[in-house]
Symmetry: C2
Amino acid sequence: MTGSGRLGLVRDRDDHGQARCVIALDAMGGDHGPGAVVPAALNYLKRHPQVVLILVGDEARIRSHLSGKGLPERLQVRHTTQEVGMDEPPSKALRNKKDSSMRVAIDLVKGGEADACVSAGNTGALMATARFVLKTLPHIDRPAICTAVPSLRGHTHVLDLGANVDCTAEHLFQFAVMGSELVAVVDGIERPKVALLNIGQEEIKGNEQVKQAHELLSRSQLNYVGYVEGDGIYLEDIDVIVTDGFVGNVALKSSEGVAKYIARMLKAHFNRNWLTRLSGLVALPVLKGFRRATDPRRYNGASLLGLRGIVVKSHGGADALAFEHAIAIAEQEVEASIPQRIGDQVGRHLAQAHYRESA
Amino acid sequence: MTGSGRLGLVRDRDDHGQARCVIALDAMGGDHGPGAVVPAALNYLKRHPQVVLILVGDEARIRSHLSGKGLPERLQVRHTTQEVGMDEPPSKALRNKKDSSMRVAIDLVKGGEADACVSAGNTGALMATARFVLKTLPHIDRPAICTAVPSLRGHTHVLDLGANVDCTAEHLFQFAVMGSELVAVVDGIERPKVALLNIGQEEIKGNEQVKQAHELLSRSQLNYVGYVEGDGIYLEDIDVIVTDGFVGNVALKSSEGVAKYIARMLKAHFNRNWLTRLSGLVALPVLKGFRRATDPRRYNGASLLGLRGIVVKSHGGADALAFEHAIAIAEQEVEASIPQRIGDQVGRHLAQAHYRESA
């Protein structure tokens, strides 16, 4: 029995025996719903011949975005009658929305009809539903949300981003293993550099959980490089930065805020008068190139790690281009069998860290 | 007996009976020591005729930065033999560095020889020493660090920035009162808008401390506007944002990191080739204006609030211009008698919040 078999995650094969990747998309989630998800799906299929996409949601609304054309090959629709609201409490969504696009997309993963699902819906409801339906992997107490953020070296993965507001040292350790496994595969790095987010590089600072996680990680066989401060997310050469969900969420939201503040200030300065507008026109190609290079849409797609199945969260405000990027992350995780890898590694790393503790 | 009398903070008067502001400067703190502090002091005195500055530190080193000239009027030197290292553990600094520039600057405030002190030294040691020497105000369990950050509306004050890694709801409430009092005076706003930093605007999110602080603040007579997410620091119309020191520190450091990342990316894009460099030259006045408007040095100076005395922390990397800004904050707090105001208000607000709780 293979690792994937145990986890109920055996991949489909097409008529020629080739592995095929089926991804369910919550078509109703996010600010734009099918208006972003349907064009993203159509475009994604063109460039990914091994992928089958299932649009889950209100069939009439989905079809209205197909602009009169029939369903292309490798695109399916699964009709659902409910939607989870962006501000709906997770427990309510879980109890009352069993035929929501979000729930059914996750059910498809659970039932083996899809290898992964992507949703731009409400994060809390998505996590609660995914956890309830798919369950967590062995040795994982809590799933975590992980995403890549742009940095001077290219990008850095950060987790948790909001699934867990209070974390023990053991939770942080599990996040470190999950992040390390994800990055090993998606970035092709054998031993990713892992750091703990803290408020000072001296060992005296930080709270108890962080200090204890530091001890656990120092004893582990992960490539743990120590503490990093907030600015290190963007400036230092680290692959995985681990923190609790409250801190991670605030760090990323604050960063978004600063980036928007800077963009608006820059625009205002170029719009001051005709002279500055003229210099803005001259600088336009550079500013556009800069904007492309730092486009947050290229980083859209956060992984819900630690589950017995692949769930990717797209930003609620994602447009079609950004949503496509989230689909790409889901496909990458399917190719790499991320849940199996995490399932295999977490227990091993935990045992090692605790063995050395008692040694 | 006045509030200031009770707190031992009666202001000096000059020969003409005018209130005079005496500020002690830790000349040895920060990355540049007297190289930044001495020129900052000289420049500050020129534009502030009511201020007396005391340079605390190694007299020979201080005098070497006076470039052969004698001491100008209103500038004094207090010789000390020790320095607190930037990475020195606070407890060690407190025990072994009784003749350090940092300690003596704070002692001057305690003894009434100075109305305030400014240090660019190690934050942990500064907070520990200030707390030990000056003590906290009545009703204040823990002092907090507060600073203004630039935002679309001008600026926003955030606290705590690292003094307290684990905070109860009551601590967060005290921070809210302290921040509100500070902003009322320095920004001249009668009822500053106060928000709690959280990871979602829905009431379901957040950790226990934040939810309980929300209850306390909702019952208080502060102008409490609810939760705000990380991006709100820079984008929303809020005067005071309250959070624990771990989260606040990470939020601000992350923001610094993003700003540096964006600046470097922008520079790299303008430096790509001769054509982009040329367009950069054309855009230079705009870019310079933008940089001036968003210059972090204009926001240098964090207040240690909740103490029986005024202590301002300058950024460790501050140059003379930035250090001058920190001196200006200290002077503003002296003018406004910040510790007295906080001492008067915290008890009143706490009693009100708890009275309504039991009502």
